[in-house]
Amino acid sequence: MKVDIFVTLKPGVLDPQGRAIQHALSGLGFAGVEDVRAGRFIELELADSVNEADVRAMCEQLLANTVIENYRIVGFGAG
């Protein structure tokens, strides 16, 4: 079973990398990009014995730093 995890900066946390990407897009001539937030995408290949609570614990303990980041787990049913 494949599970996708999206780790994103919490609202209000400064994202200088996102801002640099925004400036670069603007430099390439793409108009109208009003904001960019960069995050991280992690794919897990899991045995059937692993449940969503396990993955949530993985996110809390390592995959995300919940001081600055939110995470979203996609792949368990409706996700």
Partner: protein, 221 residues
């Protein structure tokens, strides 16, 4: 002093730290590999050195904070053993939950490597008793992820508790409240981005970092 310098894969200031400790206390610290389950008996000071542990994979300090030796470091910190984390060591301390907040990419995105002026905000700690309150000192920084972040409530708490040990005197990396060095609530854990071990000998240009180690030795020995 029975010091331990923790060595992670990718640490690169571990020998600088060992040299500074040796200079001050007259004998070398134990170099403890991250995979060890325990600290050497009698360890009374732990240093987490700078560098790029685990290649900064995932987040700076994230993997190191979960390595086997860190359980022993967390337990020692809870017993009151002084723990100093410098640069990557500071990142490890926040990732391990020993200090609040997080260290993020520098606001200017540049790797900053230069001497920076600091103000000693708290000279009552184990680490800072060798300085005068409000003293201006100069210690080098060298980091990419040194922008200190914590939510407003946390910032108010740590300021109110006098836990900011050092503050940048100019804009270095975008850190909240210009925090350069931070103590835990008990005062026995210090994380700082500047490298005191790189200003302990005349060849370093100044010796403002030396008094941190000397002050610590005075308390421990």
């Amino acid at each position: 002093m029975t010091a331990a310098v923790i060595v992670f894969p990718g640490s690169n200031c571990d020998r600088d730290m060992a040299r500074a400790i040796t200079l001050v206390c007259g004998h070398a610290p134990n170099m403890v590999w991250h995979g060890e389950p325990e600290l050497p008996d009698g360890t009374d000071f732990i240093a987490l050195p700078g560098g790029f542990s685990y290649g900064d994979y995932l987040r700076s300090g994230a993997m190191a904070a979960r390595s086997p030796i860190m359980a022993a470091v967390v337990a020692a910190a809870a017993r009151g053993v002084p723990v100093l984390g410098v640069c990557n060591g500071f990142q490890v301390l926040t990732e391990a939950g020993l200090l609040p907040g997080a260290l993020m990419r520098n606001a200017g995105l540049n790797f900053v490597c230069r001497d920076v002026p600091l103000r000693v905000e708290n000279n009552q700690s184990l680490f800072t008793s060798g300085y005068d309150a409000g003293e201006r000192i100069t210690i080098p920084v060298a980091h990419h992820d040194g922008c200190y972040f914590a939510d407003d409530a946390t910032l108010e708490r740590i300021e109110g508790e006098g836990r900011v040990a050092f503050r940048y005197l100019d804009a270095v990396n975008g850190s909240a409240r210009n925090i350069a060095g931070l103590l835990n609530a008990a005062g026995n854990v210090l994380g700082m981005m500047p490298h005191p071990e790189r200003s302990v000998e005349d060849a370093h240009g100044n010796r403002d970092g030396l008094r941190l180690f000397e002050g610590l030795l005075g308390v421990i020995a």
